[in-house]
Amino acid sequence: MIRTEELLLNVGPQHPSTHGVFRIIVKLDGEVITEATPVMGYLHRGTEKLAEDLNYTQIIPYTDRMDYVSAMTTNYVLCHAVEKMMGLEVPERAEFMRLIVMELQRIASHLVWWGTYLLDIGAMSPFLFAFRDREIIINLFNELCGARLTYNYMRVGGVKWDAPPGWIEQVRDFIPYMESKLDEYHNLVSGNEIFLARIRGVGRYDAATAVNFGLSGANLRSTGVNWDLRKNKPYSLYDRFEFDVPLGSVGDCYDRYNIRLEEIRQSLRILKQALEQFPGPGDVMGKVPRVIRPPAGELYVGIESPRGEIGCHIVSKGKAEPYRLKFRRPSFVNLQILPKLLVGETMTNLITILGGIDIVVGEVDC
């Protein structure tokens, strides 16, 4: 028997598949990982500290930069928390706009995930397919608020811009288009033998582990735990719409893959209903005091972002700035399970598992 030495390998912070500046120090025995230590903080900007000197409206652009793949939901969690704290009423039209952009954002985010995940696995084309379709959503957002990634669209009490003429129709047209493309994706990738061999049974954990690690989003639901904050802790207008929460059973990367693609379909379903019920012209900003001062006290609000539960814990002293603002970032929490999953896997599976968790480093580091 040949004695081999362990190889210490730094994966990241500059690495094509860590989706940003995330780093994992792995000990390799051949290609098999014996130990994995995630290292983060390379994108830590101290958002929570900065927020303590900013008023609430000023914090919104910072939330854009946290989960930059899904800025709308991050926008929303802050605005929603402040509104809940102040007991503000949001006009119905504004709430519909929010819901529509959030669901579009969920689709866009899952598309990015789908494309990059397959790129991680070595298939190059799906990436471009996904980005082509995401581009439509990005253009819609661009038309709405003038930005393609960091929207700064929502405000406490409503949204900044009403839908421009024809915008709603464009969203309506997008739904059947995306549905057909989703079928195409399934035809293209979901049955591929190599792909299935790569992700089936990889990165598997059970429901108890997932709950114990506080996983959320597809990572939690892949184990069969039926927990979607849109259903279980309804916010916005989600209780008005019918949609299913896709669940997995095995808890491997394949389940997570299917759940995310199915969530695109469910989002389209929600969008369809939202557009049917979309209210006529009206205000998109509620009555909000000029300076937003939530009353003294504290509050935690969590919503379902594409990556899981994104939460906002505000401690207010009745001032225009939060006394303490803490974001519960799903990527950060979900990533905790990574070292546990990696031991005994190969280098290749490292990428598969990490990609399957779906992280955005801006959110991990905050």
Binding site: L7, L9, P16, S17, G122, M124, S125, I194, A197, R198
Partner: protein
Amino acid sequence: MGAWLDETLTWGHALLFFLWGVILLMIVLGFVTYAIFFERKVIGWMQYRIGPNRVGPWGLLQSVADITKLLIKEDTIPRKADRALFILAPALAYIPAFAVLAVIPYTNKLYFADINVGLLYYVALSGISTIAIILGGWSSNNKYALLGGMRSAAQMISYEVPLVISVVGVVMLSGTLNLRGIGEQQGDWFWEWNFLPQILGFVVFIIAAVSELNRTPFDLPEAESELVAGYHVEYSGFRFAFFMLTEYVYVYAIAALTTVLFLGGWHAPFPFLDWVPGIIWFLLKFTSIVFFLFWIRATLPRIRIDQLMGLGWKVLLPVAILNVFLTAVYMELFIK
């Protein structure tokens, strides 16, 4: 041309050989340049993109620009690299890749070296490139490069075996290792070409060949998403260009070899199309194989290393051996 090899070596002949070598090199370089262009265009179309279209008419000079850029780039060698081996590796990779082209016949008349053991020569020389890749990976003093090099060694050795065994059937049917002989013996109808009688061998050969080329879905040694760039991660400039060149020269070699071994070489698919020159048929078949290689690159994800080894040893090798056995039985029953 091959006839000259039998004559005594004079200065005139040496110059002639040299000139032919240079011409072949030019052809190969031209092929590589436009293979890259073709690949990018093909993949671009498959991905709803345009592909390169800025440099020259229809982007035709894009690869030229890229290669020029590589050649004039600063030559960097990592300080802790093993300098001698680091420099040697690209050259060592390229030389066998170019040398194997000597035995490829293009038509009945157009060939360079007509060696009796042409197939063995090909297999033997192409194995040397593996050493170069390991050397490149090891001498870079980079862990990713080392992993890439080791993967490459494992992969190439594993797939060399089914590759060679898969062509044994062809050799048995043809009764020769001479590539020109093999090409010549395939019939005038396309079903008489080796790929149908040797369908098992053909499939194994194609899979093993793609793996030998380190191309998707077997591009593990340079898997970008895992190993960044694998064995050539530390290489840049013209040294990197050499590795790149090697890769595409092997594409050329494998495409030509497949054409000769299995697709009837320069034969027309039907006897009544014989009026079309053989070189055209050769090029058509050759191009479709090249296209096939690019096509799967745009289609398939990458296989995992353990699956790769499993596939090589547990599937391809038994199938290749079975193919040899079946061919032997067939020959025993019907040909003798």
